[in-house]
Structure formats: structure tokens, C-alpha cells
Symmetry: C5
Subunit: 294 residues, 5 copies
């Protein structure tokens, strides 16, 4: 199992860095040819030009920062799951049903929560609304969403309007409304938090400087080792550049965690969980629920 | 005492890594045989192929991240303990008892809190409800739990239904209900937080890349040292690979802290504490309680 | 794409450090001339005078700290975006309109939120109010802002006065006012948080000591390597000082993230988003809004 | 002053590690004797067996983690101080006194806060109630505490019962009760947080692996250096093992910060401060208090 | 500009460490004299006695921890600024003025906020009340403050008494009082947080061990390098000990950030800002304030 995990291609950075590593390896090969033709290309002292400690620390700082963004994105989605669960529960417990249509209206409100999760996912992937979203909104709402800048916010507003109506009809107390509003505020904050991660990359100065140092480090390598390794120089350089570019690539892959990569957050699965949680409330009949005390 | 701690097998990573280390050691032995038969396997310069600083930093980042998950899991369970304590106290203080059966109903509600703790533990271990859970729920509830996806959430909902009933009967004020609801929200958030840790591993790209680098490092070691160490190469390589695989293994063991390992959180003990805390409220007679002022 | 990113000048630290690096390179060249004229300037042991590990760790700590300030600044602006969104929504939902002028007054209140975002941006850049701000405030307010120390706070106070008036007129319930007040408190806290980042630099002792160590390190470099590298010493020293000064420069550029640099936060874009979000509420007619249930 | 601080024994780790260091030193001496008797014990290459970078990083991670626990414990006690201050103030301001005995009852309630602080301290040190606690509780309460598992929680419950009584008598409004309850919740959370630190050590796998690596490192040292240092090997090894064991020992000493060590939190002093803060409220006569406006 | 910053004495650690560095340098000189007189003092292998990586990591951990305390202190003061701003605003908006003296009483309450800021500053510097405080409190209050242990807390209590009076007189609603109380709680928490930083130094075991390692490192240096550097040994050792002691000194200077150092927080400036913010509310006449809508 350990070996399988170690050599799996899927999810690894192989895809992203093999070209760069290969080029570095070929450059290493070139240098060894020049050396074997007596060119003065051996300069062992160049090893110190970029202290490996400095490079190592920068790489780890890069990975670290990217991972924090990944984990913050995960926390925000986790908070969305929790908040929608709570909202669904509060809606189904608090909202009184006095007229025949009230149950349907409530179910439609719960469906808006499913729509919110899907809309948030698509919003973070810069995708337009599609089939996935249709079952949870009315046709006229779907039309509006297609021309909206910020789908999840729009849906929250609809939910807010609905609650205001029910409150005006006396189906909610002022305390219940306040408590539901504070949950909705959390939902909107989550959208904002994800947008922040999506739209604020790591400062370019940092990425550029790090890339320059890695490239310099890899291109100077062959001159250091050609004397010792001869024609193996190419392989050596390819491997070491794979190691370094690979670490940088991990950072690139996880710093925006909302995409489709195997290293991104499993947003589709998370949305399915949310929808399933809500189904429990829309499908349940009060008869089935066992009383807490019997 | 220090020595006992240092050489205890239980809780150490020995179990997890001895096979891999042994294999690396055998490979080292093989290389030393080849060397003693004059094969050209000595290549001291390979030492630099993976700078030990880079490997060291990655390993520590791995351990660090895993520990943060472990500690966050602990915090979430700590919050569950606190919140259940508070809930039990608030229920026993706030809920008025006006009819004969009210005391029993209250005790059954408190039992649901014990059930919640156990259900949360089993949920995080992907286990079905069992004997452990039976004393705290009614038979019909037990049946429902067996077909539920998310046991702890279900139990929270029952508690919520019970409170709503008592509120409708006038045994709770609106403020008390709100305060209890906010504690229940915290409980649900804790479940969500633990699920987040359980279901979101460290990004695979990271784990794969690190494993590849460690393996490469260990397999290149014998070529570096065989010239100096001769037939001790095997032992040397076995020890160093034990050191490195061991650090990685620590990360693997503590990144999902909800299992049965000695390095996991003591969930059974935590649940016992919770049950014991609740017992105090279900067993106490008002006579025994000393008045604060006498 | 990777190469373009690696060699882009815009956003890189090249601008900030090329002079210092050039000077160090020239100093290296001078040393190599002296060496070629038989001066006793070769002292390889000087390499250890400032352990590269110490320097590396200090540099990374510097970058790390600066990045945390950058990210905290981003979070505070993100919170401002979220809070203004929420405020705009709550204002448009909660505030009743009973008299003809009420709609206009509400729109002017919403405009104050746009004014707040712009005023905050200009305040953090030590800029006076200008044309950008004019469309969102009344002429007399504009005049007051020109003589105000803290524009965003002033605007919050106006908003507060307006809400107090509407509350006195009975257009808001006490709960709605409290909920809006808590959002306004968050806005003011955000202003204070950004001022904190702006006005509290990293302690000077730290910056001075780090700069001294880098300079010393770079000036001692030529004496270490001149024996091996001869006339290439200059280039070598220039590159290594570029690497080190560059890391320090990244810290300098991102520690105050409210300016106009490509490495600063995109405040203009953020303000545009805020204004656009508010427009939705000021332009919408109730007719267009699809009912949540139809 | 700097020198005094550097060589003070009290508070240093000398006590904890001198035996281990001495043993390592003696082992080093043994090796040098063997070497002087021509045994083949010199193996300089062993230096690399545990890369010092890996060991260094693990040690620092250890210290770091332990310090975070220390500081979290400090924060929790700081929060206890603040919360008790607030509670004392709110009790003395909010609680009306209508009957003759009310003042005494209030003072006894304030004394319960002092009792809470002491009980929490003793609870975290696994100590039974003693003389220290007696002045602040009634004799019958003292008896109950002697048979209680969780003293501080018990005291909070008494305080809660008292408040409930006063609330029922109309001496507190519902808002005041809610605000006091939320402070009491914070107190209970603080107890839970401290218990969490106390009862969840750093994962054993980590401690065991680190100890093994340090010991291995120290025991292999003499073989590396005996050729160069001869009979000074013993001292050399003793010093270096003192440095390494010492860092590990710091972690051990501060990871549970609730004891009596000079490196632990000054809990006795903190409790004295709390008691003194409360005295101000129990001793003050309303006459002495200057009016804010005169 | 870069050079000026690099060589400024003010704010640097030069003051604090030049003596120790000089002594180390003289010791180095002594060793080089002994060496030139043929004493056997050259021992290059001593270089490894304290691995520079271990020392480096400990130093950086030291700086890091100290900086976190510095920044937490800054955050707490930032929170004080925000909270006082909010309080001043809420007081001036919420408090009705019905009798002639009410405006004066309100102004005196606002002045107490200025007094609070100054008192907090002086409290954290262990200073008695002085002229600076006089304009903001009444003479009798000033007298009380001179005999008070905790000035800022005392002032908060006065403010609380005043609010209670106004509430009893019906000038505040219960909601407004609650909202003001929660801000006052934040103020008291801030005082407690700053006291925590002030009174809980970094554990002595840590500081002692680090100081011992640095000293040992510096005193062993001359023996390593005397063979190569001869009479330059003194300078070399002085510079390297300046670098190391300097990093430690940064930690010492910023770990208690409430003093008068150039590296401490600008508390005087922060207090001035607070006072100025409050002035705006005490000086303003309602006529000057432009209406939000005109």
C-alpha cells in the first residue's frame, strides 16, 4: 500500500513538472558533452551560489502558505456545510405551517439552500448556472441567475425575502428570525472568504523571485558535478530539478483549492452531502419521527 | 523512567516502519557485496542529490501539519465536553418540572447527550450503533439510528424536538431556549469540524512527492557510503531509513486522530467523562445539594 | 507560461534591488583586480563568519512576518466587503418606506456605504478626498470630509445618525437597529485594524540587524571565492547579493499592502466590487425581483 | 545581569539532564580509552547517520509545540482572571439588595469566585481541597467538595443555583442573568481547556522517536571525534549531549504548565490577584466610592 | 535611504550588546597571542560542538516568540482604540439629555475614556498617576487613583456606575446598556491581556539554555579559527558574537513592548489618537454636524 501510494501518478505533480525537469536534464547532458570535449565547464565552487538552506526555506514557506490557503478554503466550506445543516433544521422546526401551501413554500426554501451550495461551487469555478442547479430553483429564478454576477448572494437574498414574508405573516418570532439571519450572515461571509482566497494570489514578487532562484540553481548544477559524474550528469540534474520544481508545483496546485484537480477540495462530494442532508428534512413526514420520550 | 519511555514499543512507530527499513538495509547489504566484488558502485557525490535540508524541512512540515490536525481534533472534542456540560447544567437548572412525568422526560433528554457523545465517536470511526449506545436511547430511537447516515445529527434533532415541545408547554422561556439552541449549534459545528478533519487528508501531491524523495534518498545512500563502511553499510542504511520513515509515519498516525491507535485521541475515556458528568445531574436529588448560603 | 512568469519584470523585486546588487558586484570585481595584482585578499575561512543558516532563517522570518501582515490586511478588506454587502442587504430589507422621500433617503444611506469604502482606501493611502468620492456624498458632507482626520469614521457616524433618526420615526425595530449597529462596529474595527498594520512597522532593531548581516555577508563573499573564481567573482557576488537583497525586498514591499505596487492589495478593484454590489440594491425595483415561490 | 541570568541554576534544565549527560560523557571516555588501546573505534563517517538538520528541526518543533501549550494555558488563566473580574463587577452592580441578608448572600457569592480560582488551581494539580479553600466556602460546601470529582464545576453550579434564586426573587433582570450566564460559560470553558492541555500529551510516537534519535546521535558521537580529540572526547560528548537533552527537557518542563516548577505558570500569584480583585468589591462601602461626576 | 536605515544606531541593538561582543573579541585576541606563542590552542574540530543549525533554530524561535508577544500587545492596544471609539460614539448617540447638567455629565463620562487610555499606559509601565491624567478626572477621583492597584479597572467601574445611574433615570434603554457593557467588557479584557504579556516572560529554562549555548559557541570559536586567521581572530570573533547576541537581544527588547524603547509600541502616540478621537465628540455642537441627507 505504501508503495502504491508512493508511485501513483494521479494526484502527483509529475504531469506539471516533467517537461521542465527533462529540459534541465538535457542541459546537463549538453554540459557533460562539452566537458568530454575538454571545454572548461567544471566549476565546483558554484555550489554555494544559492545556499541550499535559503532555497529550502523559501520552498517550504511557499508550500506552507499554499497549504494554509487550502485549509482555510476547506474550513470555509466546512462552515458552509454546518451552517446549511443548522439553517435547514431551524427552518423545519421554527416555521409554523398554517395554510395548505405553507409546506410547499417551506420545501422550496429548503431547496434554495441546495441551490446555494451548488451556486457557490460554480461561482468559485467561474461557471454559469447549468442543469445541476435547475431542480432547486424555479424557472424564473433560473433565468435571473443566468444574468447575475454573484449567484450565491442572489440566492441568499431570495431566502431573506421569503423569511421576511413569513415573518410578516406571523409564522416566525422575532428571535427566530434574528437567529436565522445570523446564520445567513455566516453563509455570506463564507462566500466572501472563498472569493478572497480565489482572487488574492500569493504576491507575485515572491513567486517570481523563487522561480528565478530555482531555475538558476538547476542550471548551475551541471557545472558543479560534471567533473565527478561525467555522462550521468543529465540524470542527476533531471532528478534534482524534479525534486525542487515538484515542491514549487505542489504550492501552485493547492493555493487555489476550488478547481477540478485531484489535489483540490472535493467540492462535488461536499455539495452532494449538503443536498442529502437537506433531503432528510424535505422528505420526512412527522409520523416517522420517533418521539424523544416514549 | 526516561529510558523506559525511550524504548517502549507500544505507541512507537516501530510497527509501522520496520519492514521498509529492513528492505532498505538489505539493499545496502547487497550494494556492499557488489562493492566487495569490485563492482563500480561507490559514488560519494550522490550525497547531494537530495539536499538533506530540503528533505528535513519537508518532513517537519509534514509532522507539523499532522499535529495541527490532531490538536484541532482534540480542541473540537474538548469543546464537545464543555458544551455538553453546559447543556446538561442548563437543562437541569432551566427546565421547570410541573407534571409527574417531567422529571423522567428531562432525564431522557440528558441521556440523549450521553448518546450524542457515543454516537459522535462511532460516527467518526465509521461504526454502526451497538450495545454501548443502547442504554441512552429508547428502543425505537435505536432502530432509527441503525438506518441513519449521521447519528449525532439525528440525536441533536431529537433533542431539539423535545425542547420545542417543552417550550410550547411553557416550561422554558424564549431566552433560555435561545441560549440552549446556541449550545446545540456548537455541538453540530463540532461534528462538522471533526468530519472535515476525517475526510480531508493532506493533499496527495504532497504525500506522494515526499515519499518519493525519502525513498530516493534511502536508496542512494549505500552508493555514497559503501567505500567507507564496507559491510556495515546495511546497518547504517537501515538505521537512517528508520529515522526518516519514522518521522513520516508519525505524520500518518496522527493526521486522523479518531481511531484506536495509542497515538490517537482517547475518545473512549473522553466519552466516559462526559457520561459521568451527566450522571451527576440525573442522579442528584435536590435534597443533597448544599445551598450556596447557609 | 511558467517562463513568462519567471522572467516578468513587473511585480518583481528587480526595480528595488538592482543598484545594491550592482554595487556589490563592482566591489567583487575590485577584489578580483587586487587579487590578480597579488594583494593578499583571499580568505576562504571567512565563509563561516555569518552562518548561512542563521541568515537564511532570519530572511525567512522576515518574509513570513511581512506576508502575515499582507494577509491580515487582505482579511480585513475581505471583512469590509462582506460587512458592507450585509449592511446594504439589511438596510434594503429592514427599513420601511412610509413617506415619499424615504426611498431617496435610503439610497443616500446606501451611497454612504460606497463612500465608506473609497474613504477607507484613501485614508490608508494618506490621500485627501477627491472626485472619486463626490458622487456618493452630498456637497456639504464633502466639505466636512476635506477637514476631517478620519474620513471613514466620519461617514460611519453619519450613517449612525441617519439610522437613529429612522429608528426614532419607527421605521426600524430595536432588534434591527442592534443588528445593524453590530455590523457597523465591525466596519469601524476593520478601519482600526488596517491602521494598526499601516502604523506599526516591524521593529526597527530587527530590520537594522538583518540589513547589517546581509551587507556584511555580501561584502565578505569576494574574499572567500576570489581564489577559485578569479575575474568571475564580480558576477558571482552580484547574483548572490541579488538573491539575498531580493528576499529582504519582498518583505519590504508586502509589509504595507495598501499602496499602489503590483504586490499590494488590489484596493481599487475591491472598491469597485463593493460599489457594484450596492448598485444592485439602489437600482432594483421591487417588480423585477422574482418571488422565491411561484 | 546578563551573566547572572545565564548561569542561574534555578529554573534551568540542569537538574533534569545532568545525569544523562554525565553518562554520555563517561561513554565517550570509555571510547577514548579503547582508542588509545588501539581498538578500531574511529568511524568519522558516522557523523552523517542522523543529519543534524533533521535532529535540529525535530527539537525545535518539540519546543515550539510545548511552548504553544504553555502559552495557551496562560491565555486560559488570563481569561479566567478577566472573567472573574467581570463577574464580580456585574454581581456587585446588578444584584439589587432589598432584604437585610442580601448583602451577606452577595458577599458569599463573591467568595465563591475566589473559591473557584483556588479550586481550579488545585484541580489541575490533582490536589484535594485544603485550608486554602476553607475561608471562601461554607463548611457544608467544603465537605461536598472533598468528595467531588470536579471541584471548579461544582462551585460554578452553586453560583448558578444562587443566581437562579435571586432571579426568581426578582433581584436580577432576565438580561442581566443572561449576561452573567455567558460569563459563567466562559469560566467552565476555561476549566475544560486547561483539562485538555493537562490530559492530552504530545503524541507518544513523537516523543519516543525523538528520544531515540537524540540518544543514537550522542552515542555515535565519540566514534566520530575520538581520532581528533583523544582523551577530551568525554567532555566534548558530555557538553553536546547536555545541549541536546537540554532542549528536549525544556519541552518536557513547559508542556504541562500547571505544576510547581519555576518554569510553570505562577498559579499561586494569579490566584492571589483574583482574590485581591474580589476583596475590593466585598470590602467597599458605597460611601467611599467617589461619584464619577461631582 | 537603505544605507541610512542599515547604519542607524537609534533603535538598533548596538547599545545592548557591544560590551559582550567586545569581551568575546578580546578573548579571541588573547587566544591568538597564546597561539603565536606556540600554545596548543588550535582545535578546528570544536566547530561542531554546537551545530550551527541548532543554535540558528533556537535563535529564530526566540525572535519569533518575542515578536508574537509584541504583535499581540499591538493588537490589544488596537482593540482598545477601536473599542473606545465605539464607546464614545455610542455614548454620544444613545444617551438622552433631558436636564441641564446632563451634557456636562456626558462629557465627563467621555473624559473618563481618555483617562482610561492614559491609566492603562501608566499601569503597564508601573507608573503612578501624574499630571497627564489630571485633566480627565475629578480631583477626588485623582486621589482615589493614587491609592489604587489597578487604575484602568477602577475607571471602568466608575463609568459603569455612571451608566447604571443614567439607566435608572431612564436615559438609556436596556439594549443600549447591554451593548455598552459588552464594549466595556472588551476594554477590561484588553487590560487583562496586556497584563498577561507583561507578567509572563518566556520560560526561564529556555532563556538560560539559549544564553549558555551562545556563550559556549562564541568562546569556542577562537580555538577553531586561530590557525587560519592568526591575529585577525579577535575581530572575527567580535563580529560573529555581535551577530548572535544581537538576535537574542532583539528578542529581549520586543518581548515586553510597553516600555520607552524605540522598539516598543508608540503608546504615547496611541493615547494621543484616542484623546483626539474623543475630543471630536466633546467639542462638537449639533449645529455643525451636516445631516446625512440634505
Amino acid at each position: 500500500m505504501w508503495l502504491t501510494k508512493t508511485f501513483s501518478i494521479k494526484g502527483s505533480v509529475f504531469q506539471g513538472v516533467w517537461k521542465r525537469s527533462l529540459l534541465c536534464g538535457l542541459f546537463g547532458l549538453l554540459v557533460s558533452f562539452l566537458y568530454s570535449n575538454q571545454w572548461p565547464v567544471s566549476e565546483p565552487i558554484l555550489g554555494g551560489i544559492i545556499p541550499s538552506i535559503v532555497l529550502g526555506l523559501l520552498l517550504v514557506f511557499r508550500t506552507n502558505t499554499a497549504y494554509e490557503r487550502f485549509w482555510e478554503g476547506r474550513k470555509l466550506w466546512g462552515s458552509t456545510v454546518n451552517t446549511i445543516r443548522n439553517l435547514a433544521w431551524q427552518l423545519s422546526v421554527s416555521l409554523k405551517e398554517v395554510e395548505p401551501g405553507d409546506r410547499d413554500r417551506k420545501i422550496q426554501a429548503l431547496h434554495l439552500l441546495s441551490a446555494f451550495a451548488i451556486a457557490k461551487k460554480r461561482h468559485l469555478r467561474y461557471e454559469a448556472p447549468n442543469e445541476e442547479l435547475k431542480p432547486w430553483v424555479s424557472p424564473s429564478q433560473y433565468q435571473v441567475l443566468q444574468n447575475t454576477d454573484n449567484m450565491p448572494l442572489k440566492i441568499t437574498h431570495w431566502l431573506g425575502d421569503y423569511l421576511q414574508q413569513e415573518y410578516n405573516r406571523g409564522l416566525l418570532t422575532v428571535n427566530q428570525l434574528a437567529s436565522i439571519h445570523s446564520l445567513m450572515t455566516r453563509l455570506m461571509d463564507n462566500v466572501g472568504g472563498c472569493e478572497r482566497i480565489l482572487k488574492t494570489p500569493i504576491p507575485p514578487a515572491y513567486v517570481i523571485h523563487l522561480n528565478q532562484l530555482i531555475l538558476l540553481y538547476c542550471l548551475l548544477l551541471p557545472f558543479q558535478v560534471v567533473q565527478e559524474l561525467g555522462f550521468s550528469t543529465g540524470i542527476f540534474v533531471a532528478i534534482i530539478s524534479f525534486a525542487l520544481f515538484g515542491i514549487e508545483e505542489i504550492g501552485v496546485e493547492i493555493e487555489n483549492p476550488f478547481g477540478y484537480d485531484p489535489n483540490d477540495l472535493p467540492l462535488d462530494k461536499i455539495c452532494d452531502t449538503i443536498i442529502q442532508n437537506i433531503e432528510e428534512f424535505t422528505h420526512s413526514n412527522s409520523e416517522e419521527v420517533p418521539k424523544p420520550v416514549d
